[in-house]
């Protein structure tokens, strides 16, 4: 029997994530920490395995070290396979032509040979910057039932935000008659989630056509999808209902973390039906002596201070008299005695000195204008000296 895979997933993980500023100075966006013990890429990878897709190409380009280390052989997601499994796909040097991934479509184009190894019927294209749980298998079933050439997952967004997304204009039967990338005057509120299923032969055909077009930006949303539509291919929308969040900005990343909290959280990580897998570090359980309320605390933490309405990553230390409120601490952060952290996102391995003040109370800080809406951001591995102040809304990537 010839070995093949019905559906291969290709995960676009090369984006720089420039709107996360200091958080992506030296790691790719999909490797950014989320929800105390995860990284963003855990969500699409877990969705794949939970949907029965065991062959995933991860396309990396920008600062891939942490991401490559993290994905490794794919074992935490059960993606270490003899045939299939997870593969890191970086741009490579070829005999005639060497190039970086020029756009999303070009990145997939450069890996057509990888996909063809598995002789797939379908290809699932994913991006590495969204937090959600989705059964791709249901979407694939819809793709097959509709006899589509391309199925685009979409969800309703508030009309006033629609111009930030790729917008689908659909017929009553769900087929798409127009695709507009970030339109100024959106005609509908159905936003593309950046999740596509293609019938493989069609994908390969249009990627090759796109590659031959010198005027193309080699982007799915801008070029490939409109080209398929113009050529009369059957494009169908797939409505997703459930939690989905693009965490490409500081404020959306903060919100998505806060969405995990509360008695009835908007996004429940505790739901055991579709477990999100991650490369769990080897830390003992969290030690808690202080006051902790309405928060998530990961293993390895030592909490002797106060934590309110916050998400605390693996191995954080919050010393006596320190207060962390409305904040996200990523992992191995040390908040020394008497320091206070408010309305902030603190990246991994940051140390905050004694009696330092980082950020301002949410009621005041959130009124600030600026790149982060008042959220204070401390970049990876920096340290804030004793007694220092970091004003609300600052983005810091050097020692203070």
């Amino acid at each position: 029997m010839l070995r093949k895979k019905e559906c291969v997933a290709m995960l676009l993980a090369g984006g720089q994530g420039s709107r996360l500023y200091a958080l992506t100075s030296n790691i790719a966006k999909p490797a950014v920490c989320f929800g105390a013990k995860y990284r963003i890429i855990d969500f699409p990878l877990s969705n794949c395995i939970n949907s029965g897709i065991d062959t995933v190409g991860v396309l990396t380009q920008y600062q891939p070290l942490v991401l490559n280390e993290y994905v490794g052989n794919g074992q935490p997601w059960d993606l270490d396979r003899t045939f299939g499994g997870v593969h890191i796909l970086s741009p490579y040097e070829a005999k005639t032509d060497t190039s970086w991934y020029k756009g999303t479509a070009n990145a997939i184009y450069q890996n057509i040979r990888f996909m063809k190894m598995y002789d797939p019927e379908y290809v699932l294209i994913l991006s590495g910057d969204h937090i959600y749980k989705m059964d791709y298998d249901k979407m694939l079933a819809a793709h097959k039932a509709a006899g589509a050439d391309c199925t685009i997952a979409c969800m309703q967004v508030p009309m006033k935000e629609a111009s930030r997304f790729g917008i689908l204009n659909t017929n009553p039967d769900g087929t798409i008659y127009e695709f507009e990338e970030k339109p100024k005057q959106p005609k509908s509120d159905l936003a593309s989630m950046g999740i596509y299923i293609f019938t493989a032969s069609k994908l390969f055909k249009y990627l090759e056509l796109d590659e031959k077009d010198p005027s193309s930006q080699n982007d799915f949303g801008k070029n490939v999808l409109p080209a398929m539509l113009n050529a009369g291919e059957k494009m169908v929308s797939y409505r997703f209902e459930g939690y989905w969040k693009d965490v490409g900005t500081i404020s959306s990343l903060w919100e998505a973390n806060m969405d995990l909290l509360g008695d009835a959280p908007k996004f429940d990580l505790r739901d055991t039906e579709r477990v999100i897998h991650s490369r769990s570090p080897l830390a003992p359980p969290a030690y808690v002596k202080g006051e902790v309320s309405n928060s998530l605390i990961a293993n390895g933490c030592e909490v002797e201070g106060t934590v309110i309405h916050s998400v605390i990553g693996t191995g954080c230390v919050i010393e006596k008299g320190a207060v962390v409120k409305d904040s996200v601490l990523m992992g191995d952060v040390v908040v020394k005695a008497g320091a206070s952290v408010n309305y902030s996102i603190i990246d991994e391995e940051v140390t905050i000195g004694k009696k330092s003040v980082v950020g301002d109370v949410i009621a005041k800080a959130s009124k600030l204008e600026g790149k982060t809406n008042g959220i204070t951001v401390l970049g990876r591995a920096i340290s804030v000296g004793d007694g220092k102040t970091v004003p609300a809304g600052e983005i810091i990537d050097k020692n203070v």
């Binding site: 929800g35 105390a36 013990k37 074992q75 935490p76 008695d263 990580l269 505790r270 477990v275 999100i276 897998h277 991650s278 769990s280 570090p281 080897l282 830390a283 003992p284 359980p285 969290a286 030690y287 808690v288 002596k289 202080g290 006051e291 902790v292 309320s293 309405n294 928060s295 998530l296 605390i297 990961a298 293993n299 390895g300 030592e302 934590v307 998400v311 605390i312």
Partner: protein
């Protein structure tokens, strides 16, 4: 190549903690919120550069197998060596081994194949962190037949420990098996090092001569020849030989010094289970406790060890309890000095109390 192999006994003195070994071997007793007792001996071997470990099993080793799996968490899933389970070897008498020597017989095929010069043999009923490579170093230097690791504090409840006295070069002079003497302070912790060839011969001799007691037939005569040495281990050590000492060993982890000694370097390996981070609600009040990923805390928790996925309901109060994974403690319960095995539940409004000497024990999978 590594210079030593490891051999771990997973089922010695199972009967000393009947509550916890009803459903498992001693090695797989859950400990410290996420570990199994075997993790300490096994991780220490790995951290000492040992890459081949045989685990001698006996009864009820399903849970141990489930825990160890392929050994990948200890980096022991190898083509060469790695983790090797040594199930009970039955000879014509068709009985399971009754003692250490008979257990070692089952490992003789494994030992025959080993090319390493030294072998570290350890029980897996204790919590400690020892660098076996130092023991091997001393063993090689003294050219001893056997090097027995000892600790100067009494660290268990049972009276069946071997104690001994050494000279200034750590050579063992006298051995006291029945603890008649009160002046002897060096407690053997059931870890020894030997040359692989020496141990192989020892087992062969034991088989041909029908020896049955490791201490009586091997150590005592060995000491008389003057070539058995002690190695002093000075770090944290706690033997789990009763429910009471199990309770104490867990509670010791609430001491920062013990915790950072054992786990500070994050090199005690264990099986990984994915669980979401622990969730504390508005009504949670937690002090001096260890809380593992997957827990949901809505009540009050004081001086407790909570394993993965424990739910503590609203208005419930837990004091001095050890609650193993996936327990559900209902609203308004009041628990003090309770040890609850895995997958159990306590219905809302229940009051249960034990004491440090005799914790109230809830069997695995019970509903109270």
């Amino acid at each position: 190549m590594s210079s030593a192999v490891g051999v771990i006994f997973s089922s010695i003195n199972d009967e000393s903690v009947p509550e916890l070994t009803k459903v498992r071997s001693k090695a797989s007793i859950p400990f410290g919120g996420r570990y199994r007792v075997v993790d300490f001996a096994l991780s220490c071997m790995v951290n000492s550069g040992i890459t081949t470990v045989g685990v001698i099993t006996k009864n009820n080793y399903q849970s141990l197998m489930d825990h160890l799996g392929s050994g990948k968490e200890w980096d022991l899933a190898r083509k060469e060596g790695g983790l090797i389970l040594l199930p009970p070897y039955s000879d014509e008498s068709e009985m399971l081994y009754r003692n250490r020597l008979e257990g070692l017989k089952g490992a003789s095929a494994f030992l025959r194949k080993c090319k390493e010069d030294f072998v570290v043999v350890a029980d897996s009923d204790s919590v400690y962190k020892i660098d076996y490579s130092k023991v091997i170093e001393q063993h090689a230097k003294t050219n001893a037949d056997l090097t027995l690791v000892y600790h100067e504090h009494r660290c268990g409840d049972s009276n069946s420990y071997m104690m001994f006295e050494t000279d200034e070069n750590e050579r063992i002079l006298t051995v006291d098996v029945n603890q008649h003497s009160t002046s002897i302070k060096k407690n053997y912790i059931n870890v020894f090092v030997a040359r692989t060839s020496y141990l192989r011969n020892l087992i062969q001799t034991a088989i041909t001569r029908g020896y049955s007691s490791f201490s009586g037939d091997i150590i005592l005569p060995g000491v008389k020849t003057g070539n058995v040495y002690g190695y002093k281990y000075e770090g944290y050590y706690q033997n789990i030989d009763s429910l009471q000492s199990f309770f104490k060993a867990n509670m010791d982890l609430l001491d920062k010094k013990v915790r950072s000694y054992l786990f500070g370097e994050r090199d005690i390996y264990t099986k990984i289970n994915d669980a979401s981070p622990a969730k504390f609600t508005e009504s949670a009040k937690v002090s001096n406790s260890l809380i593992h990923d997957g827990c949901l805390i809505e009540g009050t928790v004081e001086n407790c060890i909570l394993f993965r996925g424990v739910k503590v309901g609203k208005g419930a109060t837990l004091k001095n309890c050890i609650i193993m994974s996936e327990n559900v403690i209902g609203d308004n319960c009041n628990l003090a000095y309770v040890v609850s095995d895995k997958d159990s539940s306590v219905v809302a409004g229940t009051t249960l109390a034990g004491c440090a000497q005799k914790p109230y024990f809830i069997n695995k999978g019970m509903h109270i």
